[in-house]
Amino acid sequence: MKRYALLWTLLVTALLAGCAMNPDTTLSEEDRAVLRYDSASLDGAFELLEVNRATSGDIVRAQVHLRNKSSFSVDYQYKFRWYDRNGFEIAPEGEPWRPQRASGKAEVRLQAVAPNAAVARFELWLREE
C-alpha cells in the first residue's frame, strides 16, 4: 500500500512538473532569436511559444506562435525580415508593417512566405501601433 502511495505521489509530481514547464525551454537558440522588438514600449509584451518552418518547393514558409502576456488588448504591427546565408537582408522594402490586435492573453499565429529561394533565416519584428 505504501509503495502504491509513493508511486502515485511520484506520478502526480511528475505530471505537475510537466504542466508547469515553461514552453520557452523547448525553444532552440535559433528559435529564440526569431522574435525582435522595434519599440522599447512593446519589449517583452509577447511570449514566444513556437516557431515553425516549412518549405513549399524551395520557398521557406514561417509561422510564429505568440501569446499576449498582458490581460489587455495590444495593438501592434509586425513584419518578417528575411536573410540569405551571408546575412544580407533580402528585399528589405518588400514586406509592409502589418497592423494587428491581440486580445488580452490571446495566442496569435503570424505567418509569412519568403520572397525567394535564397532565404536562409528570418526574424519577426514587432512594434507599437
Binding site: 513584419k79 509592409p96 508593417w97 529561394a117
Partner: protein, 195 residues
C-alpha cells in the same frame, strides 16, 4: 506702411519656418484616412504572391521551369479612384523577384513594335544586330482580377470593406488554375468632440 511691410515679412518668415519636409518609412502602416492606401496595396500584393507561390499545383508547376504570364487589368469596382495597375505592378515585381515566373508586358507592345520596325526597316541599324521578328514567347497564363468595396457609415462611424480577388487562367485550356482573395476592413470613428 513700413511697419506693415515688416509685419508681413515677419509673418511670411514664421509661416515658412514651420514647413518641414522629411522622409519616412515607405512600408510603415498608413492610417491617415479609411480610403485605399499604401498599406492596403502592400498587404494585398504580399498576400497574393505568398498565396500563389505556396499553392501546391503552382509549386509543382514552377519546380522545374519559369512559366510565362501576363497581367491583365484589375477591375476597380469600388466608388474610389484607385490605381489598380499599381497593385498588379507590385504583384508582378514580387513574382519576378521570386524567380518563379516570367512576364510579357502587353502595355508596351506598340512601342516594342515601333522599335522593331525601326531596327528592321529604317536601314539605320546593322542587320546583324537587329532583333529577329517573330521570336517573342507567348504567355501561358493570364492574371486578372477585381477590387470591390462595401462602405457603411453613420454620423460617427465609417466602415469600409475591401475585397481583392485575383485569378490565374491557363490560356490554352481556359481553366482558372489559381484564385485567391484578400479582405481588408477599416473603420474610422469620430470622437465626441471631433478631435
Amino acid at each position: 506702411m513700413r511697419v506693415l511691410m515688416m509685419a508681413l515679412l515677419g509673418a511670411a518668415l514664421l509661416i515658412s519656418g514651420c514647413t518641414r519636409v522629411q522622409y519616412g518609412d515607405a512600408t510603415a502602416t498608413e492610417t491617415v484616412t479609411v480610403d485605399f492606401g499604401s498599406t492596403d496595396l502592400q498587404m494585398i500584393a504580399s498576400q497574393m504572391v505568398d498565396d500563389l507561390m505556396t499553392f501546391p499545383p503552382v509549386v509543382q508547376l514552377t519546380a522545374q521551369r519559369r512559366p510565362v504570364a501576363f497581367v491583365d487589368r484589375v477591375q476597380n469596382r469600388t466608388v474610389e479612384h484607385i490605381d489598380t495597375e499599381s497593385v498588379t505592378d507590385s504583384i508582378r515585381a514580387k513574382l519576378i523577384q521570386s524567380g518563379k515566373f516570367r512576364f510579357v508586358d502587353m502595355t508596351v507592345v506598340e512601342r516594342v513594335r515601333q522599335q522593331m520596325d525601326f531596327q528592321t526597316q529604317s536601314g539605320m541599324v546593322d542587320p546583324a544586330t537587329a532583333v529577329t521578328m517573330g521570336r517573342q514567347i507567348g504567355a501561358e497564363f493570364m492574371i486578372y482580377g477585381a477590387l470591390t468595396s462595401i462602405v457603411k457609415r453613420d454620423s460617427s462611424t465609417k466602415d469600409v470593406y475591401y475585397k481583392f480577388t485575383l485569378n490565374m487562367m491557363n490560356l490554352e485550356t481556359g481553366i482558372i488554375e489559381w484564385s485567391s482573395e484578400k479582405e481588408i476592413r477599416k473603420t474610422r470613428s469620430r470622437s465626441l468632440f471631433g478631435l
